[in-house]
């Protein structure tokens, strides 16, 4: 079972987000990029399948700040091949159509049985990566997947619907699957093993094809939402806050 995991780095929402002077994009000066959270699950699911069925896992990423750390951490977790597409950076205006075209070129060469992607990212504005990539490489796509069991050239996948309902679907391989959650939480890897991977793992650098962003909208204004009503903030230390919460509960007859 050969699996490719194309990843996406996204702004870390823990940091304060600032809009740049042009008013149409995030100011990247202080922005920290981290691996898209559900990509961690796609990667974990790939490693679980490799461990139960043998095979290889390759991770592909565009270039940019933080990418090498992500690649070496993946290697420390058990990824066999690290591929970095150079000449294009997450920090510039690469939309998902463009990213899918980049990754399609590499996926076609690698000819995997499965491509596992995170089902979505918080900054997707032109659809998610998975279905676009699937169509560019001519593979079927099923997303919101939280379980994958390969049987005879097909995968039985668990697809999540609202309210906790699961649909089971059989998908012919090769296929692209959008992972919502791996069957077990993403594994932790010790920093010492990542350091070791930095010394031993090789990153295969490949020049990215020309950027083509056709298919996404243009943004002419970016702003922070203004809400009509915002929460009344309870100030003070934990003792004062706890006291006020108990008062509120008492007013409702709940404490």
């Amino acid at each position: 079972m050969n699996i490719v995991v194309p990843v996406k780095l996204v702004p870390d929402l823990v940091e304060e987000l600032e809009i740049d002077d042009g008013g149409t994009a995030l100011d990247t000066t202080w922005l920290r990029f981290i691996l898209n959270e559900v990509d961690e699950h796609a990667l974990e699911q790939a490693l679980l399948l490799k461990e139960s069925l043998s095979g290889t896992v390759s991770v592909i990423s565009l270039d940019g700040e933080g990418v090498d750390d992500v690649l070496f951490a993946s290697s420390a977790k058990g990824v066999d091949r690290l591929i970095k597409l150079t000449g294009v950076d997450y920090g510039v205006n690469v939309n998902n159509h463009a990213m899918a075209r980049f990754y399609a070129t590499t996926v076609r060469i690698l000819e995997p049985d499965l491509v596992l992607v995170g089902v979505q990212a918080h900054n997707d504005l032109d659809g998610s990566l998975g279905p676009l990539l699937a169509e560019y490489v001519g593979m079927p796509y099923v997303g919101y997947v939280s379980g994958i069991a390969p049987i005879n050239g097909r995968c039985r996948v668990r697809k999540e619907y609202p309210g906790g309902l699961i649909a089971e679907m059989d998908v012919e391989m090769p296929a692209v699957l959008g992972v919502q959650a791996a069957e077990s939480p993403p594994r932790y890897v010790a920093i010492s093993r990542i350091r070791q991977a930095m010394k031993t793992a090789a990153v295969d650098e490949q020049a990215a094809p020309d950027l083509d962003t056709t298919g996404g909208p243009m943004v002419d204004s970016m702003f922070k939402p203004e809400t009509a009503e915002r929460a009344t903030m309870i100030t003070g230390d934990e003792d004062e806050v706890a006291g006020r919460i108990v008062d509120l509960l008492r007013e409702l007859g709940k404490a």
């Binding site: 929402l13 699950h41 997303g143 059989d170 002419d220 934990e238």
Partner: protein, 324 residues
Amino acid sequence: MSQDIHVIVEHLRGQVADITYVAVAAARRLATGTGGGVAAVLLGHDGETLAGDLAADRVVYIDDPALADFNPEHYNVILADLIGGDPPRCVLFGDTSMGAEVAGVLSARLSMPLVSRCRSVDAANGRLRFISQICGGKILVEGDIPEPNALITMVPGGYKPEQGRGETAPEVTRTSVSPLGSGRVAFAGYQEPKAEDIDISTTPILVAIGRGIANEDNVELAEELAETLGGAVCASRPVVDQGWLPTTRMVGKSGKRVKPDVYLALGISGAPEHVEGMSDSDLTIAVNTDPEAPIFDVAQYGSEVDLLDLLPVLIERVRAAKGG
């Protein structure tokens, strides 16, 4: 090329999803700008009446036994024919586990631009505009809906489902399709949600925990508070994905919709996917150290104290208030 706006009807087990009504409300707004009509496109089996209360001008109904349950490949084939054959100005989907993947494939297959996470639309001076929300609801972006045609996936929040409900049933046109082959994706069946210890959708007091709970050991503190209050613990996605609580306790887009008297949101940022499941709570009190957390836009009361400092004190206070 038509100036009509199409809405792809999302339905599951005989029930049309709220997001379809939201999309119809947006479609009506767009149609005032284009001068075209609103058509609901319904794929199903023995489900002709499903679109009867949509505020659409007409319904295009495609019936096939293979469409009884959602199969993305069938939708892709049928809609590529329908949309590609006579492209409407815009096609609206829900930004959901059904709509998002069909819209993505069609965008690539038909080379038609796609706008996702759309919250509201506008039509003025001959221009169609979108506003989408990104970065967990912390950022909004605005722009022109691409011409001459575009696919759009809608998120909740901009319109109430009632705005997409109509009083008279729209006219239904049945359209036939070529026989659907076995294809590369086959629907195999449903797995019902697991039997639940507690049904959080009917629990009046919920202590909801998110990423801010930091580690599994702290879940006990939330359990203790819930027990003291006579309520239950529920969670946002990251907590469930870590395996700290069962999926039956998940609130949000792919979890439960809850409407308790009190929703105590601890360490939850308030991403749109979570808010979708709890915005009907009577009273929401949110605790999060990030002053910009979108949960404060939903909550009536908020605090920026560290929930791990707060929890032990709050448990004691509630216990004291309850007389021991």
